[in-house]
């Protein structure tokens, strides 16, 4: 763990250097929307943004991923399980970096390894961009993260003056930062960053006790309040698709013009068809059951299954929900409840 430094106007060139060996996925602005995309040159990346609309989870779990494909006339189907070329995810916020730690627990928990996710993960290095400003939708501290948290990152940039202090965290991060012409940071920068973290954290609403909340939720499965709390929900997929920890998927077989493919595509527990059974029965027929599922999964079941809350407090669902169904308000009505 050590610190280097880079000037803002050197970042483009630094990324150009990385591009020689890695695919670099960085924040870019297209038609007014900021999102992660593979860049062809360092100058495309922007670091002057609050957070991207969609999370960077697509780097490990693309919206559509072909698992198998077969062409007419060929004997064997092709399994797309090959090793991946190295990728650097550059500029993800600490909440998003932390979300990859959660996804690792789902897709590679030591017992079962999803080969598609796993191969991409093995090839990924994450250089995050620490938060020196927050949005009024941020609640990372509640979920165990923080604006300058290093969890999940191989290196982290922290804006200081006209440049960034580069906190080199893992061996992978060192590989990226060494021998690329970055200067060493000055003495005491670690302490400066710790102080900065406290300052920024004060901008965020104080953390809520999630284990207390879990108990309350576990006792409230059948409460009538779910109906009124969720009745404006549109059952679209905005919250789940933008979420850095949501990971539900469907397997879709399609064929066309002599090619058959088996794709993995994103799915959402908010879609009505998500739990539709072949008989036509749907155990989650309305927004009430589906939205309850979302809350319970993230703030109770994930703790049970993965020993980590299924939310990193990035606030995208709060910001982008078309009807402003605020997850914090839903949770707030369960705090201090004893069920019923």
């Amino acid at each position: 763990m050590y610190y280097k430094t880079i000037k803002k106007n050197e970042v483009g060139r630094f990324l150009d250097g990385l591009l020689a060996e890695y695919t670099v996925v960085a924040p870019v602005r297209k038609n007014g929307v900021v999102g992660f995309d593979a860049i062809q040159s360092g100058e495309e990346a922007i670091l002057d943004f609050s957070n991207t609309t969609a999370s960077p989870k697509g780097v490990l779990m693309p919206q559509l991923e072909t698992l198998l494909s077969a062409r007419a006339g060929e004997e064997e189907a092709v399994e797309h399980t090959g090793m991946r070329k190295p990728v650097v995810l550059f500029g993800a916020r600490p909440c998003d970096a932390r979300a990859f730690m959660f996804l690792d627990r789902v897709f590679n928990d030591g017992i079962a390894r999803d080969v598609y996710y796993g191969n991409r993960r093995d090839a990924l290095l994450i250089v995050s961009l620490g938060c020196t400003r927050t949005r009024d939708t941020c609640f990372c501290t509640t979920t165990g993260g923080g604006p300058l948290s290093t969890q999940g990152s191989d290196a982290m940039l922290v804006e200081q003056g006209d440049g960034y202090t580069v906190h080199v965290i893992t061996a992978g991060g060192a590989e990226l930062m060494n021998s690329r012409g970055l200067s060493d940071a000055h003495e005491g920068v670690g302490e400066e960053i710790r102080k900065l973290a406290l300052q920024i954290t004060a901008e965020i609403d104080p953390p809520v006790d999630l284990s207390e909340l879990k108990t309350s939720l576990d006792n409230s499965f059948d409460t009538a309040a779910w109906q009124t709390l969720t009745e404006k929900c549109l059952s679209c997929g905005v919250c789940t698709y933008l979420c850095p920890t949501c990971h539900c998927f469907d397997i879709a077989d399609e064929d066309n013009i002599g090619v058959k493919v088996r794709n993995r595509i994103w799915d959402s527990c908010q879609f009505p068809g998500f739990t539709m059974q072949a008989s036509g029965f749907n155990p989650r027929p309305t927004y009430r059951e589906r939205h309850r599922q979302r809350i319970m999964h993230k703030f109770s079941y994930c703790d049970d299954n993965h020993h980590m809350t299924g939310c990193v407090g990035c606030g995208r669902c709060v910001l982008e929900c078309p009807v402003n169904l605020d997850i914090r308000r839903v949770l707030g009505s369960f705090r201090g409840r004893n069920g019923g």
């Binding site: 919206q63 559509l64 400003r133 997929g237 994103w266 879609f271 009807v323």
Partner: protein, 319 residues
């Protein structure tokens, strides 16, 4: 009428309807959890009617919720919302007799995201609406913006700010903008096909297939949407440019003659895809070819459920 007076009048009206038992629930808006957001709310008791607000951030089309409320319903509706009501009544999805429409004349809704961008990411603590201005106060700043610069795209071309159907009208009618401005469509069509294709595909590439557009639309009420059907499968479900285009083309064809251009779709879209270009093209053709505009009169048959013997054949290769 300024937002505060509007809100009070709506709350009064809702309280009265609930007290008298004329309706079981009033669908309206309450203050959102973020600046420049209002959020749908469902008021069931007179005491709760005080929650109801009205301002320039009420962009959702509340008609979308009617099907989840059987029984007698009050609904707060701006111009475009009432046009959706007309279509829903025409399609027998909603009973006129069980509705009390609290109509609110509208000068257009503000796109809060656009305002936030102008504030450079600084936190906003208060927004005051003053006639044609927005006064934004926040983290050590205060700016005044011209309302007209921040309207949702659908509102810029709206010609029905006044409710077309209502039982109660809140405040005075507003001056309507010029009618039937489809310049955006003709401007787009003056570009070369290659240019248009490139634009459309770059918009489609931004779509993540979250279906917020479809689910926010009051006229998209099918029990099973074609996009979710697997036998047969009409469109792939992945967010690939061509499948996404097929989804939006088909959805806009399904909305042909029914889309009231409320813009709820675009307002709901998290990546701001220009979906409306398709609906605008169809609306413009329907206006030109069949002299019809959706959602204005219950007694006007829908254009795709009717025909004239001398309908245009300009597109036919051989007659």
């Amino acid at each position: 009428m300024n937002p505060t007076d509007c809100s009070n009048r709506i709350a009064e009206e809702a309280g009265r309807l609930l007290t008298e038992g004329t309706v079981d629930v009033v669908i309206g808006f309450e203050k959102g959890s973020l600046p420049m957001r209002s959020t749908p709310c469902f008021v069931r008791t007179p005491q709760d009617s005080g929650k109801l607000v009205w301002n320039s951030f009420c962009s959702s089309n509340l008609s979308r919720y009617l099907k989840q409320f059987p029984g007698k319903v009050g609904i707060v509706a701006k111009g475009c919302d009432t046009r959706a009501l007309v279509e829903l009544i025409k399609e027998k999805q909603v009973n006129r007799e069980s509705l009390v429409v609290i109509g609110v004349p509208c000068r257009g809704m503000i796109d809060g995201a656009g305002v936030l961008e102008r504030c450079d990411g600084k936190r906003v603590s208060d927004v005051e609406e003053r006639d044609d201005e927005l006064v934004i106060t926040g983290d050590s700043f205060r700016i005044t913006l011209a309302r007209g610069d921040f309207l949702h795209p659908a509102c810029r071309v709206c010609f029905t700010g006044n409710p077309v159907l209502f039982d109660v009208l809140i405040g005075e009618k507003v001056q309507e903008q010029a009618r039937d401005c489809y310049h955006d469509v003709s401007d787009f069509e003056s570009r070369s096909p290659g240019d248009r294709w490139a634009y459309i595909m770059s918009e489609m590439d931004r779509c993540i297939r979250c279906y917020a557009c479809r689910n926010a639309c009051p006229l998209c009420y099918c029990g099973e949407c074609f996009a979710d059907a697997t036998r047969p499968q009409w469109v792939g479900r992945g967010a690939t440019g061509t499948d996404t285009l097929a989804f939006h083309v088909m959805r806009s064809m399904h909305l042909a003659g029914r889309c009231v251009e409320c813009g709820a779709c675009r307002a709901a879209c998290p990546t701001k895809v220009d979906i409306r270009t398709l609906n605008r093209k169809i609306s413009s053709d329907i206006a030109r070819l069949f002299d019809y505009r959706p959602g204005l009169r219950i007694d006007q048959p829908a254009p795709l459920s009717s025909f004239k013997p001398d309908d245009s054949e300009e597109f036919i290769l051989e007659r």
